[in-house]
């Protein structure tokens, strides 16, 4: 028997309704993350097995309160629902609603229902009903809404099979009636004219196209022109939208009056008690800083063991391959290019996973919204919003998801400032650079007998990152003349225990995205670097002869000559020439051409710094020794002074440079996509670059 075509199902719902939880229950580990064409919003979809050989493809649309979008994420929902001719257009929509706030959830439902796509209403968190004193007349509700209603509890896995059954039923008997007849209650003539524009679209679809200026490809040119005329009278459109909203709520109120009862006396309000603590004027901030400290402590502490383990494994692997393979170009490529390259990415996994774990837990529990509430007034002084706290914290893992997280900030100026300063926060890519430099130049001493001086330096760099982000935000706030209506509303969701499954899946997904996203760049750069370091113009090819025949080298032993050859090779390779070219510019900062090479490659991504130095020094060193990169860097001598290359002044100067400079192509690309112009990423690149140069120069001068 032939397999029937899978049913396409889209999940829609308010944020914090457990929509993603249901998605996880329906699809499990079959989830795939893709991108919507043209935007970088994650498109999550997965397969779901129904009865027999029937299957469904479930898509998790971003959480939204309404299909009238106010953000990029929300506009995805509208676009997915208007493009009726698209191959991914859903056959069925499942609206996920929270039983505790059914009224507001039904508002979104009523909008989707009017699009006349087959629909199911899944009312979530039904296990809470008794405790909250809620009673619901499902039968009447089904009749009133003309929709199959399923009671579920996605966290407790209740009703998941009923959702699957409903999907199968709905595919057979699709009953599509609009719920709210918006037309005659608002302006009969106006909507009658609108309906005449196109016979292929429902009235509500046409109305959405006007209000949102979103004209799908399924329209003919003539239809589009006619619709454009309706958009002329903007104030009328706005007035009707307001009326529409009120009308929908009136209708929902009537339906709920007959079906939904709450016995307030039964509701035990944990929320109020917890809010009192978490938003307290003293304890609120104490708890928040405690949480931050806990996060940083665990990033540094818990991750050292797995990171050392990964580091050692990659060194072993390199050694193993060196022994197993015959000497040659291929072996060099693998041991000096690919293995250190991959190692440079894998080593971040523990730290990134821990950070994502905390962010996921804080969001799941509802605590993050309280932080937004606490911090809004403070952040506003610096031209940002309370919602900027989330990107700034996420920025300590990676600026790319952090810049994407700014989408929840509604005011454009606040959002722009947050985007511009987020790259100053110490992302995990800076961490290996800091770690290696600190261990090289900061003595391993205890401060006041307890705090490690190295740890203190690292903490200071984090504080410096935040401080410079806040200071630049303040300056931008005063300088930027951007027109923007700042409008702020944040939902304060109920407190919840985090679901382990949701948290784990979230961490897995984000870590995977980082490893494969950043990994590709780093691996590619490692290979390119290796090539540039082991090849060169004409003079490079004769280097062996030149060095051996040099009379000054007559009395050197064989191995000393080999070392001379390797370093002469590096100096004359393509990358050596590049490093030499920029050497005069970076000399005031205390750097030589080898560090210059690392700087050049770091402009793709900071973490490449360590890998580059590893590649440079392993190309240079003779092949048999697989000493760690730190040992090699420590042994490096500044030929002009005869002292160590990485002394305190150079180390500090480099630390400051990496703290301030914009060295991440990925972030530049995402900023371009989010701000829709190259102006802002270029401003970041230049502004942060100048700041880094000046600050490093001052640092170097002070310490030397």
């Amino acid at each position: 028997m032939e397999n029937p075509k899978p049913i396409k199902v889209a999940l829609i719902g308010n944020p914090n309704t457990g929509k993603t939880s249901l998605f996880n229950q329906l699809t499990g580990l079959t989830q795939k993350v893709g991108n919507y064409p043209g935007v970088t919003v994650d498109k999550k979809s997965g397969n779901c097995k129904l009865s027999g050989n029937k299957t469904a493809i479930i898509t998790d649309l971003p959480g939204t309160y309404s299909i009238n979008p106010t953000s990029v994420d929300e506009s995805i929902v509208l676009t997915s629902l208007l493009n009726t001719t698209d191959k991914d257009f859903p056959d069925i929509i499942v609206v996920v609603a929270d039983v505790e706030n059914l009224k507001r959830n039904l508002f979104l439902f009523s909008q989707v229902k009017d699009l006349e796509i087959p629909i199911i209403l899944a009312i979530n968190m039904s296990d809470q009903m008794e405790r909250k004193g809620i009673s619901l007349d499902i039968k009447t509700l089904q009749e009133e809404l003309q929709t199959e209603v399923v009671l579920i509890s996605s966290r407790k896995k209740i009703g998941i099979n009923k959702v699957k059954e409903a999907i199968e039923n709905c595919a057979v008997v699709s009953n599509t009636h609009p719920l709210c007849s918006i037309n005659h209650k608002i302006d009969g003539d106006y909507f009658e004219k609108l309906k005449e524009v196109s016979a292929n679209h429902t009235l509500y679809e046409l109305w959405l196209m006007i209000t949102q200026n979103n004209f799908p490809d399924s329209l003919t040119l003539e239809e589009k022109t006619k619709l454009m005329q309706f958009t002329q009278d903007a104030s009328r459109v706005k007035r009707y939208q307001h009326k529409e909203t009120i009308h929908r709520y009136q209708q929902i109120n009537q339906i709920l009056k007959r079906t939904y009862k709450v016995d307030r006396s039964k509701a035990k309000d944990l929320r109020a008690k917890l809010d009192k603590v978490f938003t307290h004027k003293i304890f609120g901030y104490v708890i928040f800083f405690g949480v931050l400290l806990l996060i940083f402590q665990s990033i540094f502490d818990w991750s050292t063991v797995p990171m050392d383990f990964i580091d050692a494994q990659f060194a072993n692997l390199s050694e193993f391959v060196t022994k197993q393979m015959n000497a040659g170009v291929l072996r060099d490529l693998i041991t000096d290019g690919i293995i250190p390259g991959i190692g440079g990415v894998v080593i971040f996994i523990p730290q990134i996973a821990i950070l994502f774990l905390f962010v996921a837990i804080l969001e799941e529990t509802g605590y993050m919204s309280r932080v937004v509430f606490l911090m809004d007034k403070i952040m506003r002084r610096y031209g940002m919003s309370g919602k900027s706290v989330i990107p700034l914290i996420s920025g300590t893992a990676c600026a790319i998801p952090a810049v994407m997280a700014t989408r929840t900030i509604a005011g454009w100026k606040e959002r722009l400032i947050t985007i511009l300063v987020t790259p100053f926060t110490t992302c995990s890519a800076r961490l290996p650079v800091y770690a290696i430099l600190i261990s090289l130049v900061i003595p391993d001493k205890k401060l006041l007998g307890y705090f490690s001086l190295q740890g203190f330096t690292l903490l200071s760099l984090y504080v410096l990152g935040f401080a410079i982000a806040i200071i630049s935000a303040f300056i931008l706030h005063k300088l930027l003349k951007v027109k923007s209506t700042s409008f702020f509303v944040a939902e304060m969701p109920n407190y919840k225990l985090p679901s382990i499954k949701n948290v784990i899946l979230d961490v897995l997904e984000k870590t995977k995205a980082f490893v494969f996203g950043a990994g590709k760049i780093i691996l590619a750069i490692s290979i390119v670097l290796w090539f540039l370091a082991s090849n060169g113009p004409e003079s490079f090819k004769n280097i062996e002869k030149t060095v051996t025949e040099n009379t000054a080298h007559k009395n050197l032993s064989f191995s000393e000559i080999q070392t001379k050859i390797s370093s002469a090779k590096l100096e004359n390779s393509y990358i050596g020439i590049m490093g030499k070219t920029i050497e005069p510019a970076i000399k005031p900062l205390g750097y030589d051409w080898k560090i210059g090479i690392a700087l050049i490659s770091s402009f793709a991504a900071r973490e490449v710094f360590v890998g580059t130095l590893a590649t440079i020094y392993s190309v240079e060193s003779d092949d048999e020794s697989n000493s760690t990169i730190k040992e090699r860097m420590r042994a490096e001598i500044n030929p002009e002074t005869g002292e160590k290359r990485f002394d305190l002044a150079v180390g500090m100067s480099l630390l400051i440079f990496y703290a301030f400079a914009m060295q991440c192509m990925g972030t530049l690309a995402i900023v371009k996509r989010e701000t829709k112009t190259w102006k802002w990423p270029m401003a970041q690149l230049v502004g942060m670059g100048i700041l880094a140069y000046v600050a490093s120069f001052i640092t170097f001068t002070i310490f030397s």
């Binding site: 309160y65 709520y249 938003t279 509430f373 606490l374 007034k377 409008f487 509303v489 939902e491 109920n494």
Partner: protein
């Protein structure tokens, strides 16, 4: 029973106080806030005020929302 009605805004509520959003506020409430249930004629309760007196944490129509004082002071209410 005589009700004393005074015209005030959400921003003038004290913690724990309840008011009803007045009809004339319709034009100043942004669509997004309307869609979240903040409509004329419904009860609004001030639950918490942030430590620096702003934003305000309100409960309106079953939705728990944080809005800024600036917005709150434009939404007129009737205290009962």
């Amino acid at each position: 029973m005589i009700k004393i009605q005074t015209l005030s805004t959400i921003a003038t509520l004290v913690k724990g106080e309840i008011g009803i959003i007045s009809e004339e506020s319709l034009d100043v409430i942004p669509l997004k806030l309307l869609e979240m249930g903040c409509l004329p004629g419904v009860e609004v309760e001030l639950l918490q005020v942030a430590p620096l007196k702003d934003p305000l944490y309100i409960c309106v129509n079953g939705s728990h929302l944080a809005i800024r004082k600036e917005m709150a002071s434009q939404i007129k209410i009737i205290k009962s």
